[in-house]
Structure formats: structure tokens, C-alpha cells
């Protein structure tokens, strides 16, 4: 293992920073039927924002739900059963946003089908739809060894974690690949570590938890090379 620790990658890993700018579209859902209709006709970028990008937007400090829709079901509709269904949904199980849209629509339609009433959001908790644009810049932090990567993970912002884990999946065109495992796969002979990173349930975790978990996995596979971030 020490040999791996000394090994320097041919290409450094450059951390990127990602600045999200939400773009409200001036439409809202006040009940579950309106949400279903909106998901069917609005641009896929709106669904992408509420399922994935919104974790970079200001939100409640500790939320157990992994996306806006599940949180809205729990908090605005106060429908725990629907919140459970939406929180178990993982968009990374699908090939593209078209399939994701179909799957979310199916969940909502099936749920509404069996209900004798339409769940309404309490006043002030309507879901206002957004999409987003992002600006990405290269940070000044890079890593050439696994130790440097691990140490850098404690320094970079959560927006970097978001960029390299979430945006990477669409950019690389490989659903299960993220930038970290991609770089390790191409520079180090550590297939078990690559697999362990790709097996992380990233959609379930908050960005802060993803950072802690990733550091934990690296330490587990190559020895305790860096401390857990605070």
C-alpha cells in the first residue's frame, strides 16, 4: 500500500468550483395534481433542478429528504406516505432525464389514482418552479497523489463535491461514474476503491455527508491517510 501512496498521477486532479444561479420560471403548483401536470409539460431542466441542483441552493439546515419534491410532499402537503415514495426515488437509476420524468410522473399518477382527494399545499408553501444556470471555474486546489486528494477534500467547498459527483454523471455520460473514481481508475491500480466510490449512495446523502463518506472510503482502502473533515 505505501507504494500506492507514493504514486503520483500522470494528470493532476483539479478541483472545480460550481456557482448555481436559480432561475424561477413564474409557475407554481398548489396541489399534487398541478405538480403532476407540471412535471409532464415543463422543460426537463426544471425537474433536474428540483431533483438534483437544488441541493446547492439555500435550504433548511438538516433535511432528511433528498430532493425538493419529497420535501414538499412532507412539509407542504404534509403527506408522509408520498414523501416516502419520492425520497426512495433515485434519478441515477435512469439513463436520461426523459426516463426520469416518466418515472416521477408514474409515481405521482399512481399515488393520485388511489386517493379520494387531492392533497393541497398549506398556504405559503406552494412549490415555485425553477431551473438553473451554472458557472464553473477551476479552483486553485489540485491533487497528484491519493493523500493530496484526501486532504484537499477537507478544504474544498461543498459546491466542488456537487460538481464532481452530480454534474459529472451527465458530463461523463456514465451514470455510475464520478470524477473522483474516474481519476483514480485512470491513474491508480485500485479497482476495489473505484468500485466502493461508485457504490456510494450519493443521492441519499447530503453534500456534507458525501464528503465525510468519501474520505472514510479512501481511508478504508488505502490506510488512514487523512483526517475526517470537520
Amino acid at each position: 500500500m505505501p507504494k500506492i501512496l507514493d504514486h503520483a498521477a500522470e494528470n493532476s486532479f483539479w478541483f472545480h468550483e460550481c456557482f448555481l444561479m436559480p432561475m424561477p420560471i413564474g409557475r407554481k403548483a398548489v396541489n399534487l395534481r398541478e405538480l403532476l401536470e407540471a412535471i409532464r409539460y415543463l422543460d426537463e431542466s426544471v425537474l433536474y433542478y428540483h431533483l438534483i441542483q437544488s441541493r446547492l441552493a439555500p435550504g433548511p439546515a438538516a433535511v432528511e429528504y433528498p430532493n425538493d419534491l419529497a420535501y414538499w410532499a412532507a412539509n407542504a402537503l404534509q403527506d408522509s406516505k408520498l414523501a416516502e415514495k419520492l425520497s426512495s426515488f433515485d434519478p441515477f437509476e435512469y439513463e436520461n432525464m426523459g426516463e426520469v420524468r416518466q418515472a416521477v410522473g408514474d409515481i405521482l399518477e399512481e399515488y393520485l389514482w388511489d386517493l379520494p382527494y387531492i392533497p393541497w399545499a398549506r398556504s405559503g408553501f406552494e412549490l415555485h418552479f425553477c431551473h438553473a444556470s451554472t458557472v464553473v471555474i477551476r479552483s486553485e486546489i489540485s491533487a497528484q497523489t491519493l493523500e493530496e486528494l484526501c486532504l484537499a477534500l477537507g478544504k474544498v467547498g461543498l459546491d466542488s463535491l456537487y460538481y464532481h459527483f452530480f454534474e459529472a454523471r451527465w458530463r461523463l455520460g456514465v451514470r455510475k461514474a464520478d470524477d473522483f473514481s474516474f481519476w483514480i481508475e485512470n491513474n491508480f491500480d485500485l479497482p476495489d476503491l473505484v468500485r466502493a466510490i461508485r457504490d456510494l449512495d450519493i443521492y441519499f446523502y447530503s453534500l456534507k455527508e458525501i464528503r465525510e463518506t468519501l474520505v472514510g472510503v479512501i481511508n478504508q482502502y488505502v490506510g488512514e491517510i487523512c483526517d475526517q473533515p470537520e
Partner: protein, 407 residues
């Protein structure tokens, strides 16, 4: 003068580094902010802090103010009220005067720039006269326009539609406009007079001056005396609490002189508080930032029981001071307060009373909630995040049509 690096102690050096990198990538660009006043009001407050910080980042940033007569500001006050949903009558003569004052200002201005950020409706019409003087025009709306009066909005929409982008504070304020709309949350400056740390002596001096004893826990609401802030509802809640628990209520704020219902609401507040020695009503001038700061720091619980709200920066200020906050479930308060976590949301005087009692009897919970609230504000609602959003915004406006821009 406060330097950008002073903020590093609060938000971390990496955040300041990000601002420098974003500004560097943007290159030598010129910005002009335009609003209608150099002092007084939230927009002037944020610009007076943000403009020097943008300059420190190496951006050629100017701040221009339009001048107008009393009639002009009567018209724009009517615009403001109408955009917030009040019914107003605007004659063609008034609209002409609004346009003429903007034309006069346009003749006076000599600037040319890359980006112009026009704040609120007062200077919006400048674009008609000055389109060619800036590469990109952005309309920054700070007002709650979720339910605007249609007549006034139609008139303004004709003007605003000419802009390249508009920016709102809440997603529910977005409108049907033919250009990209962006969301930038307001922010507070931790070093401003309203938010800077105060010594116990400074706090005590303000309380002594205002005649407030600290013999009982203090419940505080800071807001204008207008119907949407529900000060009467706060007094009702306080009376419910007082049946069980000793405490005092301080309602501090200015008169809502531009609210047609302002005088009536203030009379109702005085009537509701009548005969209750533990309720103190303080009429403060608009620039009483130091006093508000001290009151917030002296309070045990801070209430903002709004029934309609733009963003609710008084909530943000209270959270920054590590106080447990109880807020009405309206506008941006919903975004800031999460039950049992960063605060409590309530829907009625009874709910407000219940949560006040809950917190008075659980000081440890109140303390923990205040800590979480301060951390939440630190991460999301300080001026450094606002500056970052401005830089991101102009980068995006500079690259129209791109949803993801790699610099």
C-alpha cells in the same frame, strides 16, 4: 473601511478566494448600479456595502442615483404599493411625469458601461433613453411582486421587457417576461451598524435610553406598524403567554407612512396594548440601526409574525444574533425557519403564543436553535454570498444562451 479580507474570519478564506477568482475570470468590466436614493431603505443599505466590496475585487463599479421631485416619488410610491397588491389610481399625467423625470436624469448621466443594474421601478424607464450606453441591462426588483396590481404591472412590464434579464428575491415573484429571470436572495452585512457585535455595555446603554428593564424575559418584534406584520396578533399572542409565564413584549419599528392603512393599524396597536405595563411600543426613526441591533441582542425570543412578507430580513438579522425566532409562515420566512431546527413557523396568535411558551420553558432548546440559525445565515445570507451571486449573474448575462459556463 471594512475590507473584503475582514469577512474571511466569518465565512472562511476559501469563500473570499472564490470571489477573487470569479472577478478575475470576469476580467475588466464596468458596472453601474442605479437606484433612487443614496441613504435610507434596504436597497441603499445593501449598495452602500456591496459597491465598495465589488471595487475591492478590482471591478470598476459605480453607483448612480436618480433625482426626482416630490410628485415623482409620489408616483413611484404608488407603483411600489400597487406592485405589492394595493389598489391605486395612476393618471396618464402621473405616468408622463414618471417618464419625464427619467428622461431628465438620462440627459444628466454621462456614463457608458458594460453592465447596468437598475434597482426597482423608479429608474427603470432609463432604458428607453439610454439603451446604447450599456451592453447589458439588468432589472433588479427588490419588491414582493407576487400579486401585482394589473394596471401598474402592465405599464411596467412594457418597460422591463426591454431589459436583458431581471432578478427577483423569491421564486414566487417571477413574472411572465421575455428574458431570463434569476433568483438572488437578499443578504445582511455582519459588519453593519445593525449587525455588528455589540458589547454588553453598548446594549445596556440603549436599553437604559429606551427605558427597557431586563427584569423579565424580553419578547421582541421589530417591524413597521403595518397590517401585514400583524402587530396586533403579536399582542394577542403575548397576552396568551402572560396568563402562564412572566415576560415582556417590545414592539419596535417605524410608522408605515406609505401604507394607506398605516395610521389605522398603529391606532389599533396602541388600543390593544392599552393598560398593559409589560408591553412597550417604540417608534424608532428609519436609521435607528444601532438601537435595533441592541434590542435584538437583548431579546430572549424574537418574533416576526408576518402574514405577508417579501423576504423577511429582520428574521435573518435576528437569526444572525443567535436568537430563537418565531415567524409567520409567509414569503421568505418559510425559507429561513424550519421547525425545531432554525426556528418555528406559526399560523395564528395561538400558535405564536404556544411557541413562545415552548421556548421560554426550554432555554437549552432556544440556545441550540439560535446557534443553528446563526450558522444557517452564515452559510447562505451574508453579503459575501450576495457578491458571489452578482458576479455569477453578470457572467451568465455576458454569455446568453449558455446554461453551463466553464471559465
Amino acid at each position: 473601511m471594512i475590507s473584503l479580507n475582514d469577512y474571511a474570519a466569518l465565512v472562511g478564506p476559501e469563500v473570499i478566494g472564490q470571489l477573487h477568482r470569479l472577478a478575475e475570470r470576469l476580467g475588466p468590466r464596468r458596472f453601474i448600479h442605479i437606484n433612487s436614493t443614496r441613504s435610507g431603505g434596504g436597497v441603499a443599505e445593501i449598495l452602500s456595502r456591496a459597491v465598495p466590496l465589488l471595487q475591492q475585487l478590482g471591478l470598476d463599479t459605480g453607483w448612480e442615483v436618480i433625482h426626482g421631485d416630490q410628485d415623482f416619488f409620489e408616483v413611484t410610491k404608488a407603483f411600489h404599493n400597487a406592485l405589492q397588491g394595493f389598489k391605486v389610481n395612476l393618471s396618464p399625467k402621473m405616468l408622463n411625469h414618471y417618464q419625464e423625470i427619467n428622461r431628465e436624469n438620462a440627459r444628466r448621466f454621462t456614463w457608458e458601461t458594460d453592465f447596468v443594474l437598475v434597482h426597482d421601478p423608479q429608474p427603470a424607464y432609463l432604458i428607453e433613453e439610454m439603451r446604447a450606453r450599456a451592453k447589458h441591462w439588468i432589472w433588479r426588483c427588490h419588491i414582493d411582486v407576487s400579486r401585482p396590481n394589473l394596471q401598474v404591472w402592465r405599464f411596467l412590464r412594457g418597460i422591463v421587457s426591454q431589459y436583458d434579464a431581471s432578478v427577483f428575491s423569491m421564486s414566487q415573484f417571477a413574472q411572465n417576461l421575455p428574458h431570463p429571470q434569476y433568483l438572488i436572495r437578499p443578504s445582511i452585512d455582519p459588519f453593519s451598524e445593525k449587525n455588528r457585535d455589540l458589547t454588553p455595555e453598548e446594549i445596556q446603554a440603549v436599553l437604559a435610553r429606551l427605558g427597557i428593564d431586563r427584569d423579565k424575559p424580553i419578547i421582541l418584534q421589530v417591524s413597521r406598524f403595518d397590517s401585514f406584520k400583524d402587530p396586533v396578533g403579536v399582542i394577542q399572542a403575548f397576552r396568551l403567554v402572560r396568563r402562564h409565564t412572566p415576560c415582556k413584549l417590545v414592539l419596535a419599528g417605524g410608522e408605515a407612512t406609505d401604507d394607506p392603512e398605516g395610521p389605522r393599524i398603529f391606532a389599533e396597536v396602541m388600543e390593544a396594548a392599552n393598560g398593559e405595563p409589560d408591553i412597550q411600543i417604540l417608534l424608532l426613526p428609519p436609521d435607528a440601526h444601532h438601537e435595533v441591533n441592541a434590542l435584538q441582542r437583548a431579546a430572549n425570543i424574537i418574533v416576526q409574525k408576518s402574514t405577508q412578507e417579501g423576504f423577511g430580513l429582520t428574521v435573518t438579522e435576528a437569526m444572525w444574533k443567535g436568537k430563537p425566532v418565531i415567524g409567520g409562515a409567509a414569503g421568505g420566512i418559510v425559507l429561513q425557519l424550519q421547525d425545531y431546527n432554525t426556528g418555528f413557523l406559526v399560523h395564528s396568535p395561538e400558535g405564536c403564543a404556544f411557541r413562545i411558551r415552548y421556548l421560554l420553558h426550554r432555554p437549552e432548546m432556544a440556545r441550540r436553535m439560535g446557534q443553528l440559525a446563526r450558522e444557517f445565515v452564515r452559510q447562505h445570507f451574508l453579503i459575501t454570498r450576495h457578491i458571489r451571486d452578482y458576479l455569477t449573474l453578470v457572467t451568465l448575462v455576458d454569455n446568453p444562451g449558455s446554461r453551463i459556463i466553464e471559465l
